[in-house]
Amino acid sequence: MSATRIHGIVLAGVGGQGILSMAQILLEALRRSGLHALQSEIHGMSQRGGSVQAQVCFADTPLTSPLIEEGGADLLIALEPLEALRYVSMLRISGHLVTAEDPVADMEGYPPLEDVHRALRAVRGAHLLDTESLARKLAHKQAGGMAILGLASRFLPVPEETWREVIAQRFEAKGARIVEKNLEAFSAGRQLLPEGVEA
């Protein structure tokens, strides 16, 4: 019996940013791609503006552990740069980091933003995304999260069509325009990397 390779994704952000919703999109997209996937999340007090973390793991055989360990993540997706830094040690040596640059700095002791960005850039293969200007460019306030997901999607074994299906279904109830806006943000993020860079 040979060892099974289990892939991990850590999602980090601040309560209210939509981390759990993003985790659900990931889970569904992986599942539709024929993979076995699990997602874990922490509810409760974490929703009141505190740090929020979710994990998704997947493999080609059924999994039972909802948690991954340090060094078990192939991908770290963050919607806030300080929250990204908290989980860098979850990444494998070969892992990728995709994070928003824009801080949620409404707290005591937030380090100077340049220091946070510098620390993140020092992580090899880190992708920092200026979600604010992207949102302005797309005239869509909530574009950031979807663009981050789009960028991160380049590192996941899910066909582009599947992503689009899952996202469309997720926002279906909110109307065709919202679906369009989210797909547009997703594509914008996905196109930020040149072809072949994910290897």
Partner: protein, 553 residues
């Protein structure tokens, strides 16, 4: 029918209860159990009028509602978090003696690591205490399957059956296969010749206790069907339950050499001594992986057959939840290589009040009033809800939080010892949960205490379920005997700060029990429109000339 559904572990329990043909679901919100009830509630509402879902004012009430439904021969689910079972314990332990008629399943969600709880007690221990079966799933599929099985077992043995989850499974989202949904048809009410079983006067109770003990072998047999002995070639073995089992099963995928370890997979209790002996005969040393208490570890250790290692000898940390890392350390497997980021001091991002939350305005008024009467250092007793956040900086406004509803009695106890002023802060739903009897005693005691009720009209922290005391707080307070002259309803808004401080000051100076109701709806429930429909109906009723007008204190 064999659909694949995607849900949280705790939701899978709710879904299974629905498919098992329950007539009703009852519960009190509490992380991480809340979504279990909400899931089955949504299914029940979508299915039409044949079934009911009802939040109760507390877990004991919820349990008794389920037991009453069981009496009529219908299946029922009751949901709560681990500390909620303490509240329901009187009902749970005695329902072991009455037994059940329709199947009764208790979903209890434990919180190892205390993600959002005040302790990490182990509900398996309480099932053992009550001489009742407990099923412990390790995956979302098992959460579903075991719940179906729990209903069948409950009816076969005529006892309540616990399904124990822990946070990580309760909030693990994964696909599972559903079975066909049974209609909510009951088995008929308790027959006449068994009515005495349900009347727990001593003569009946003695007989029923003997009956309960006589059911133990059948409970052990039922549990043994789920517990598995997996042979191996090594002399070191692993006994694992719940998430310990889930983590170990997956570690075998990553480290195939672990398959050589003989295994005792525990999924149900009470444990069968024969299984334990058979397992111990194969090993010299055992590592035990279980969430919360060293229950399995103690039992195996008592047999004296092998060296048993786990939380008691430090092979596993004595407190906190299990994780793959904890298991790997105990098994002597090395850590994975991982990235590091340049060192930077990362401040904790603590949860806090939502922007504009009325609780903050209420606390600020109370603190200023305490300063005004010359008691800025007064110790204030708090309670459980979003408002517990005030125990932290910058407010530091409450100085004791124990369990649901404790604040009022703590303040009365302190007042009776001479503390002045004695102040309790409690939310509206916590007040409904267990503050009501405490306030009655407060009035009776004659002690000088001020009870601040933060009425945000919902159970804010667990996701804004409607409060059972909705629109009734001051009527309840008056009904419990607090004189109308000592009850004030205030609006916690910055613009009303001065008048709120003045009113609070007057209450702090009053003799006997004084009550301040700070009422402003939770921002989150307002945003989501949770009470919109309710308020529209309320306005219509109030506009109707034949309806009784609302009582105002």
């Amino acid at each position: 029918m064999n659909q694949s559904t995607l849900a949280l572990g705790v939701e899978a329990v709710g879904c299974a209860a629905f498919d098992a043909g329950i007539k009703g679901a009852f519960g009190y919100p509490g992380t991480p159990s809340t979504e279990g009830f909400e899931h089955v509630e949504a299914m029940i509402h979508a299915a039409g009028p044949d079934r009911v879902a009802q939040w109760a004012s507390n877990e004991k009430v919820a349990f008794d509602l389920a037991l009453g439904m069981s009496y009529t021969g219908h299946r029922a689910l009751v949901t709560m978090k681990h500390v909620g079972l303490n509240v329901a314990m009187d009902a749970y332990a005695n329902a072991a003696l009455t037994g059940v008629q329709g199947g009764l399943v208790v979903l209890v969600a434990d919180d190892p690591g205390m993600h959002s709880s005040q302790n990490e007690q182990d509900s398996r221990k309480l099932a053992e205490f009550a001489w009742l079966p407990c099923l412990e799933p390790s995956t979302v599929q098992e959460a579903y399957d075991f719940t179906l099985r729990a209903f069948a077992l409950s009816e076969a043995l005529q006892v309540p059956v616990m399904v124990r989850l822990v946070t990580r499974l309760a909030h693990c989202r994964a696909p599972f296969q559903r079975q066909a949904t049974l209609p909510p048809i009951g088995v008929g009410q308790v027959p006449g010749n068994r009515v005495q079983d349900w009347v727990l006067i001593p003569s009946n109770a003695r007989r029923r206790y003997v009956d309960l003990l006589a059911k133990q072998p059948r409970m052990r047999e039922a549990a043994a069907e789920l517990n598995r002995l997996v042979p191996g070639t090594a002399r070191r073995g692993v006994a694992a339950a719940g998430l310990g089992r889930a983590y170990f099963t997956q570690l075998i995928l990553e480290y195939p050499e672990l398959a050589a370890l003989p295994r005792l997979d525990v999924a149900a209790y009470p444990l069968d001594p024969a299984t334990e002996e058979a397992f111990l005969a194969q090993v010299d040393e055992v590592l035990v992986f279980e969430e919360d208490y060293p229950l399995l570890e103690e039992r195996l250790g008592l047999r004296g057959r092998a060296r048993v290692r786990g939380r008691l000898d430090g092979a596993v940390p004595r407190t906190g939840e299990l994780s793959p890392r904890v298991l790997k350390d105990a098994l002597g497997l090395g850590a994975l290589e991982h990235r590091t980021a340049p060192a930077l001091d990362l401040p904790v991002r603590a949860p806090r009040f939502c922007e504009g939350c009325g609780h903050v305005d209420a606390y600020e008024a109370v603190q200023e009033a305490l300063r005004a009467i010359g008691s800025p250092e007064a110790r204030v007793f708090g309670d459980i809800g979003c408002y517990t956040l005030a125990a932290q900086e910058p407010l530091s406004a409450i100085h004791g939080v124990v369990e649901m509803g404790a604040s009022i009695s703590l303040a009365v106890g302190a007042a009776l010892a001479g503390q002045k002023p004695a102040v309790a802060v409690i939310g509206d739903s916590t007040f409904a949960h267990s503050g009501l009897p405490a306030l009655l005693t407060a009035v009776e005691s004659g002690a000088d205490v001020t009870v601040v009720i933060l009425d945000n009209r919902v159970v804010g922290m667990t996701g804004q379920q409607p409060s059972q005391a909705l629109d009734q707080v001051e009527r309840l307070v008056l009904g419990l005997g607090v004189p109308a002259s000592q009850v004030q309803v205030l609006t916690p808004l910055p613009s009303k700060h001065a008048e709120n401080v003045a009113a609070t000051e007057a209450a702090l100076r009053a003799r006997g029990t004084s009550v301040l109701v700070f009422r402003r709806e939770c921002i989150q429930s307002l945003r989501r429109g949770v009470l919109k429909e309710h308020d529209r109906e309320l306005r219509e009723r109030q506009a109707c000339p034949t309806c009784v007008p609302e009582v105002q204190p």
